[in-house]
């Protein structure tokens, strides 16, 4: 029944924000951010079980842990960048939000560089020189 908690928290926060927004837009933003962080933290615990299960599966099937680590890193980068970008976007700073997303994309691409390197090396060795 965690979903009810999350939705309830979100609804209450939304109503409070609507009330406060007229008088103090600053506090409305703070409230929104705090709610976002709370829900995020709440989900962290849940997602950790999923990740540990994935890890166990990968270990039992003999997949390289490097792959799993890479994939998990991608998820983490995507989530955190998304979260930060949304918080900033809520505050009306579209510019900074897009920059945060750009940073997330670039960091994901950096993770791909070693893989691309090895694939290219293999392909080059396949070709007759």
């Amino acid at each position: 029944m965690e979903i009810i908690q999350v939705v309830g928290l979100g609804l209450i926060a939304t109503i409070l924000i609507l009330v406060v927004k007229e008088q103090k837009p600053m506090f409305a933003f703070l409230l929104a951010t705090a709610t976002g962080v709370l829900i995020f933290m709440f989900l962290m615990g849940k997602i950790s079980t999923v990740i540990s299960e994935l890890e166990r599966m990968a270990k039992s099937s003999g997949v390289d842990m490097i792959y799993l680590k890479t994939i998990l890193k991608i998820i983490g980068i995507a989530y955190i960048a998304e979260f930060g970008a949304q918080v900033v976007r809520d505050a009306g700073q579209e510019n900074i939000a897009s920059k945060i997303e750009l940073a997330g994309k670039i960091l994901i691409m950096v993770l791909a560089v070693p893989i691309i390197g090895i694939i290219i090396e293999t392909v080059l060795k396949l070709l007759p020189s």
Binding site: D64, Y67, A78, M109, I118, L126
Partner: protein, 250 residues
């Protein structure tokens, strides 16, 4: 056939993982990028037998690259990277010190060998010198001075005439300059056919050797004295070991 099954298992696992990640991705904006990386991973898994054939240790290389990336991201700001640079510099300096010490040790060994050859008239003396830095830490500054930690002399001759001769010969007047030489252990080991291991133990530490093995001890004593005088080593710190016993130990 086991490699085939393991390969298939790996492919299935990676594809499953990729689809799962696709599912829990937060938004559209990241999707293209994440999909690219995931497809690259799947491609890597598909190619893995080929990669293993063609390139050596791709896994290790990949792990190294990721580790480097991790370290870079962990180092973070300029302070961290400065620290890293300093650490690397320290490492390089230590390496350089080590190398120069080794070189100096080789030079000293060569000179000692020459001296022994001149004194005894024998070519077969093998000398190895171990140098060390005085001062507690290896990372210190310029106030460190190298000293001779240990000298090992191996003689491969049972020529008694040479041994007798060696006692009489004065040391050659070479002027060798080596900076402060402090406590030194000189170990003279002799390859002798008549293995008297007792004398080694008896004479190691003390200079007084048991009389029966006079010949070898004479020789060893002579070398010891000569080295001690030329290199400014204190006689108390010189340890003479007999060849056969030493060889057994080594």
């Amino acid at each position: 056939m086991t490699w085939l099954s393991s390969w298939l298992k790996e492919i299935i696992m990676v594809v499953l993982l990729a689809s799962f990640v696709d599912l829990i991705l937060p938004s559209r904006s990241m999707e293209r990028y994440v999909k690219l990386v995931l497809s690259l991973l799947i491609l890597l898994t598909l190619l893995s037998p080929l990669i293993k054939l063609l390139t050596d240790a791709a896994d290790i290389k990949l792990a190294g690259a990721f580790n480097r990336f991790n370290q870079q991201s962990a180092a973070g700001g300029s302070k961290g990277s400065l620290q890293q640079i300093m650490e690397q510099a320290q490492q390089l300096k230590n390496q350089q010190n080590q190398q120069s010490l080794e070189w100096a040790a080789r030079e000293i060994a060569a000179q000692m060998q020459e001296q022994i050859r001149k004194q005894n008239g024998q070519n077969t003396a093998e000398v190895s010198v171990v140098l060390g830095m005085d001062g507690k830490d290896q990372n210190g500054g310029a106030d460190q001075n190298p000293y001779i930690k240990g000298v090992t002399v191996v003689l491969r001759q049972e020529d008694e005439a040479a041994a007798k001769q060696s006692g009489a010969n004065p040391e050659p007047g070479q002027d060798i300059r080596i900076e402060p030489v402090t406590p030194v252990q000189v170990e003279v080991q002799m390859d002798q056919t008549k293995g008297d291991s007792k004398s080694a133990k008896a004479s190691s530490g003390k200079e007084g050797a048991s009389p029966p093995e006079g010949k070898s001890n004479d020789k060893a004593e002579a070398i010891k004295k000569m080295l001690g005088n030329t290199w400014g080593l204190e006689p108390e710190t010189i340890i003479v070991q007999d060849g056969s016993a030493g060889d057994q130990k080594l």
